[in-house]
């Protein structure tokens, strides 16, 4: 009897461990929701000073790197895609279980929502990473309709069949990865999501609107509860609406939300009325209707950091060794911004200057009938410290040092970074002709047939920062597509 009990207990234990692991592999890890909370749980206790809760407007615009670098604010964007106020409330509850922030920032977009329930994908992104507790159950039941609550509570049943979409992040959730929606995740960005492509935006002037409009009943209820929760915990809270292409109706609701904030003696800042002060360039700082690029979020966060410092007491943590993660976040964010500038540079001269970045590894190949001694190409190569007169046709450089160079013969070289595999090779095509190949993670980068093909690999963000061709057939134009 005793023996069989031990046996069964051991079996159940092993099975339990395996199923637990299987569950963690299969669980959703959407970068615009689930992984943000999952990463938050991994932070050292009581290190975050400013917790920013809200929707994507929070994680795309509140640039934690800039807030750290410029003001020493240790902040975290505890946000999730299209987060309604009821999920903000439960996110705050969750945050207070492990952190004692000096300030809570509620991004105010959620107050303008006129919905009573979330859609399926948003329920998943806003609740599924919460650790099991009564709060998680409440967060799910408040998000789903009465008939469908149970369906969402049985979370495993919803994601067990996503095995065909598994990728690196499912096995190594703390690494950098692309989620199943192709959103990128990097743990040390403190919840923020960085965009590097911009779009020209027309932003409506809402400064003339003064008539408030009632909020959705449920949105208001949880908006109030969020403020009350912060105040019950004696933590200052501020409501900030980040820049986006808002509508007249949104603005009316923000006016009402501001009135409610004032009832509680809470500051309310609608930055859509401050675009000029912040210096937002509507032509280049928006990624889309509702998110800023990393350039835009930098400007926005410089302004916000100043505002927070002036209005609240926030400790400057720079130099504290417990905050190494924020140092990495700042370095990463800044490098990401530099990469964005490089990627959007269109003149060869500007590109050449940007390439002197110490983090860049350059992979260059001279292709087709292009001649290294040709003036434009020769100049570009010289700027990169390469002798155009040599017989080489492929080069790999890191910083100022040359790692490899190939001449006309068949050759290949491999290199691996933390997460990527790079290959440069010359392969025979028959009849004594060779062709060059630059391959990163099995993908070949080749923009022009005749000219220079350049791949810029950034070792800090561990990704291809840019790839372009200099087309010698077409007046040395820059080709990126």
């Amino acid at each position: 009897m005793k023996k069989s009990i031990i046996r069964i207990a051991s079996f159940i234990l092993i099975l339990g461990i395996i199923l637990w692991k299987v569950n963690s592999i299969l669980s959703f890890k959407f970068a615009d929701g689930n992984s943000i909370l999952a990463d938050f749980y991994r932070l050292e206790k009581n290190t975050v000073d400013v917790v920013t809760i809200g929707s994507s407007h929070a994680y795309a615009n509140f640039n934690c790197g800039v807030l750290w670098d410029e003001y020493g604010i240790a902040s975290y964007d505890l946000a999730s895609s299209m987060q309604p106020t009821w999920n903000s409330y439960y996110y705050l509850k969750e945050a207070l279980k492990t952190q004692q922030p000096e300030l809570i920032v509620l991004e105010g977009f959620g107050t303008s929502f006129d919905i009573d329930y979330s859609n399926d994908s948003r329920i998943v992104k806003n609740t599924y990473s919460m650790k099991w507790s009564r709060d998680k159950i409440e967060a799910i039941t408040v998000s789903a309709t009465e008939e469908r609550k149970q369906e969402f509570l049985l979370d495993y049943a919803r994601y067990h069949n996503r095995y065909a979409t598994l990728n690196r992040g499912d096995f190594f959730p703390e690494s950098e990865y692309l989620d199943s929606n192709n959103y990128w995740h990097y743990m040390d960005t403190m919840g923020q999501y960085l965009f590097d492509q911009f779009r020209r935006m027309e932003i409506m002037d809402v400064s003339k609107i003064h008539e408030p409009e009632e909020l959705n009943e449920k949105a208001e209820e949880y908006y109030r509860k969020t403020i009350e929760l912060a105040q019950e915990n004696n933590i200052p809270i501020v409501v900030i609406v980040a820049p986006y292409a808002l509508t007249e109706e949104d603005q009316r609701r923000f006016l009402r939300a501001e009135e409610i904030a004032e009832e509680y003696g809470v500051k309310f800042l609608n930055t859509n009325l401050l675009l000029d002060e912040i210096g937002i360039n509507t032509a280049r700082d928006y990624h889309d209707d509702v998110h800023l690029t990393v350039q835009g979020s930098r400007k926005f966060s410089l302004y916000i950091g100043q505002y927070l410092k002036e209005n609240f007491e926030i400790t400057d943590r720079r130099g504290d060794e417990r905050y190494g993660a924020w140092d990495r976040c700042a370095a990463y964010t800044e490098q990401f911004r530099k990469n964005m500038i490089l990627k959007n540079a269109t003149s060869l001269d500007k590109i050449a200057k940007r390439l002197s970045n110490q983090n860049y590894r350059l992979l260059i190949s001279l292709d087709g009938n292009a001649d290294a001694e040709d003036e434009v190409i020769g100049d570009f190569l010289s700027q990169q410290g390469i002798d155009p007169a040599s017989s080489n046709v492929m080069w790999m450089k890191e910083g100022k040092s040359m790692i490899w160079e190939f001449d006309g013969e068949e050759a290949k070289q491999y290199m691996s970074t933390k997460l990527h595999d790079i290959c440069m090779k010359r392969v025979p095509e028959g009849d004594g002709i060779y062709s060059n190949k630059i391959i990163v993670d099995k993908k070949e980068y080749r923009k022009v047939d005749n000219g220079l093909n350049v791949v810029v690999f950034d070792t800090l963000t561990d990704r291809v920062a840019d790839s372009f061709g200099i087309d010698s057939d077409n007046n040395y134009s820059i080709v990126r597509i």
């Binding site: 069989s4 079996f11 199923l19 495993y156 049943a157 067990h160 069949n161 095995y163």
Partner: protein, 492 residues
Amino acid sequence: MIFFPVVLALYFVIPKKARTVWLLLASYYFYMSWNAKYAVLIGFSTLLTYGSGILMDGLADRKVRDVQGRKKLILAVCILLNLGILAVFKYGNFTIESVNKILNILHIRVIEGRFNLLLPVGISFYTFQALGYIVDVYRGDVKAEKNLLRYALFVSFFPQLVAGPIERLKNLLSQMKKITEIKLWNARRVASGAILMVWGFFMKMVIADRVAILVDTVFNDYRMYGSTELILAAIGFSLQIYCDFASYSMIAIGAAKIMGFELMENFNTPYFARSIRDFWSRWHISLSTWFKDYLYIPLGGNRKGNLRRMVNIMIVFLASGLWHGAGWSFVVWGGLHGMYQIVGDVLQKPKERWRQKFSVKTDCVSWKLSQMLVTFALVVFAWIFFRADSLKEAVGFIERMITRPTPWLLFNGGIYELGLDRVEMNILVVSVVILLAVDLIRYVRKQTLDAFLFEQNLWFEWTVVIVLIVMIFVYGKYGPAFDPKQFIYFQF
């Protein structure tokens, strides 16, 4: 998912004398969770057969005149009433439609109206089980059960209530009589039952519900497909119905075993059968032996000459077809199997001569394999009628199978466009290999999975069970993205 552990936990905790009542309550709760009204039907059948049994036994004891005649009368009334219920609920609309068709031909006004009844789940199973009992009592093979609660539990025992196996009084009721002697804890028995349940869930959730996607895709739209897809779908359905039906029996056997009851084996590697007769000794064994005991033998079996034997075989198989479903395609399915057997018997002698003439070796794997393949092909062909929505659809399906060859789809990846992509198809193939291995163990070593695993080293036993459980959790078809299919045999 919660029902069984709760029932089991209390079953082991409550006083031994209360076990029968507890299981009976659990069984009725289980049944009523489909539809509370069904309980009236099963209750009526139970009381009817119970009462008839007692009456018959009473007659024998009181030595009244014409005992046999009266017993016959009771039996006839009892059978007619039971079959009557079955006929109304299961075959009512089928009968009306069939009569209408005939009347239509004769230009007579068609009968209006239809029964608007839901087919009670498991009605064919428990009705047959109860009928088996009453015939046994009539024949004097068993004594009538006096304890109503125990008898009610025999008819409604929840593990096998809705999809078999169809148990016999001798086997199950005698175990129920000793219910108080069942030991609370027997690790091997419990583990054995649990393994069988895991295997059942694997067959159902990983294989049957997965291959069902391909089968449904093709069968529901068969006019869009050619021979390769149609043959694949027919083979797929053979796999689906085996895994679906056998899984339910397996789960029932496992669950009963955990509680200390041994149910009869219902499927024994049917697709390894080397003849149609062999197939029926391996497929839904509890039903085929039921038909043999209570229909074939009473009809005279093979004691009344060759022609009569053939007629009897046809009657049994047509009845079996009708038992499986109220529709002409099921009758044709049954008829085909009957015909296969009769033709097989007729060809027996010529085949023997032919074998001798060409010196065909029969004591070798290749011969046995070819027999299996031929039998399997015949069975698959018959399944088309079983699965098709109507007789007309089945004929259309077969016609396309012959006239629309699409062999290239086997090579150019076309088979991955039938509802199962490469990943799903790979999972299916791996699962079927596991199924084949388990069936081979049963076939060659005559061991069920639990018995085989107990003979192995612990690490292997645990690895196999854990792999199966993980596969069910991950690859099982369940959850909101996919409506788990009802066990397709529930309504037969």
